[in-house]
């Protein structure tokens, strides 16, 4: 069974990190894995610096090369032609969707989106001030047209501790109850591997993250 997943959510919630790690976890399972940078505002500053590194690890990465295009910033950017056909590819397809709610409006640019089984997963970091409380997160997620699952990605970067992760689990689980959308996973920096089993305190599966984004130089 091949997966088609889109990682969406608040700006800087951890979409790229979760999408990269998810895609890499699928490599070696006998199916090709495609990772697509679907950020039409700042495509050059998310997956771009990591493209070669990720390709070397066996991912088929669909992202602009810097010199192939122009950085238009606030004026938006052009969809990479291969991205338009990404959902028609064989194997697993993971979409990294930039820029919050507006980013998800780019789904209609993808051929076959309507009939695809694309799972839309919203990444939530409860340590982000705009999504720090249950009502704020619920309000924010209701602005999305459709969400299939939640990823609790609560952390403070280098200053993350177990307390913020556990607090995130409680907050996101409550959001899940209110919205009727399941928690697909809690994602945790791999340095906390010893503190977690397969599940968090609410029984949600735990995914361990290797942090690639700090290499993106910002």
């Amino acid at each position: 069974m091949c997966l088609q997943e889109a990682y969406v959510g608040e700006y800087a919630s951890g979409k790229s990190e979760n999408a990269i790690n998810r895609a890499l976890s699928l490599v070696g399972g006998g199916q090709p894995v495609t990772l697509v940078d679907l950020d039409l505002v700042e495509p050059f500053y998310t997956l771009r610096p990591l493209r070669d590194e990720l390709s070397a690890k066996g991912l088929d990465v669909i992202a602009w090369q810097t010199r192939e295009t122009l950085g238009l910033g606030e004026a938006g950017s052009i969809l990479l032609p291969q991205a338009r056909w990404a959902l028609k590819r064989e194997g697993h397809v993971i979409l990294d969707v930039g820029y919050g709610v507006h980013g998800t409006r780019s789904f209609n640019l993808l051929e076959g989106y309507g009939e695809s089984g694309l799972q839309v997963l919203a990444v939530v970091n409860a340590a982000r001030p705009m999504t720090a409380s249950v009502p704020d997160i619920v309000d924010y997620l209701r602005s999305f047209e459709h969400i299939d699952g939640l990823i609790n990605n609560s952390h403070l970067g280098d200053d993350t501790d177990l307390d913020i992760i556990h607090r995130g689990v409680e907050i996101v689980s409550e959001v899940s109850r209110i919205l009727g959308v399941p928690v697909a996973a809690t994602s945790v920096d791999e340095r906390f591997r010893d503190s977690f089993g397969d599940c968090d305190q609410r029984g949600n599966p735990v995914r361990f993250l290797h942090r690639y984004m700090p290499h993106a130089f910002w």
């Binding site: 800087a12 500053y45 950085g71 238009l72 910033g73 705009m130 720090a132 280098d158």
Partner: protein, 366 residues
Amino acid sequence: MIESPIKDEQKVFVTGNEVIAWAALAAEADIMYGYPITPQNEIMHYWTRLAPKYGKKFLQTEDELSAGFTTLGGILAGRKAFSATAGPGTILFQESISMAEMMRIPMVVVVQQRGGPSTATVIYSQQEVNMVTFGGNGEGWRVVYSTSTHQELYDYTIKAFNTAWKYRFPTFILGDGYQAKMRESLVMYKPSARGIELVKPYTVLGGPGVPGRDRLAVHLRNTFSVEEELYEAVMPAQEEYEQMAVEVVEHDSQHTEGAEIIIIAHGVVSRAAIAAMNRLRNKGIKAGYFRPITLRPFPEQELRKAAGHCSNFLLVESALGQLARLVKEALFNVPVERFDTIYKPGVGITAEELVEAIEKNRKVEH
């Protein structure tokens, strides 16, 4: 009464642009005027998401000329107003900033530097130092805080409003695209909880009563009929700028005493400078570091003092000598043994390249 957005101290994970929006709320700013430009857009995005919740306002203007002058208008009406811009936007702001210098209007502008000249690139450089420090037609009566971390973006944004309203010179937060987009943790706090008293804004124009009958008329001038009249206006303002300079100037330095080399950097590049200094010191190389926090007024005396301990410098910046110009001016007439530079306009600088450059130079010497 709308409750304060920031209650207890709170550790959060944020981008730099968001920090500015939250810090402006903490500083009790009333309104932001602005025109979109990367890499500062999210300051506007987050301010407009937060503003309605806390009774604050936002006006998107038709361009940066208008953003600058509407900011001045808001301030004259007694509101704590601010704006944010970058690159070509900073060029268009110069006219209103010059007016703020001449009329002594407490304007606060956040500049997230992008590449130049012209439209150039949308994210990073340190090429707006010239323009932010001395960009207008005048004498550079500005206060410029060059930040290097998210915590500093927060602390100095609060401070910038106080400096501007206390001394009435336009005040800048000089960040850059990396700081704008970068993600790291921040402790948000209420200024009063840290003993910081916010300077209250006051109405300059349009106060109650009839001017000349109920109160003195306000006559702000940026135009003078004759040169002598201008001279008489400029000289006292210059004196006040110099008096203020002693009170607001800030720098950071480490291990300059006994150093064999001092790395000079500002803004986000100073993070690489500190990391390089620490790595070199671990290898037994006596490296020090000096960073101007205020680029205007410049910590001249403090740098000259450091040069008294060690006159061997490596200056690094993501521009072609804009910081170097300020540094050389400050070091005028001080004997300098060696002044190496690494200029990388538009490009980030890492600790590794600084360590490598210093070790290479030492090998050549020995």
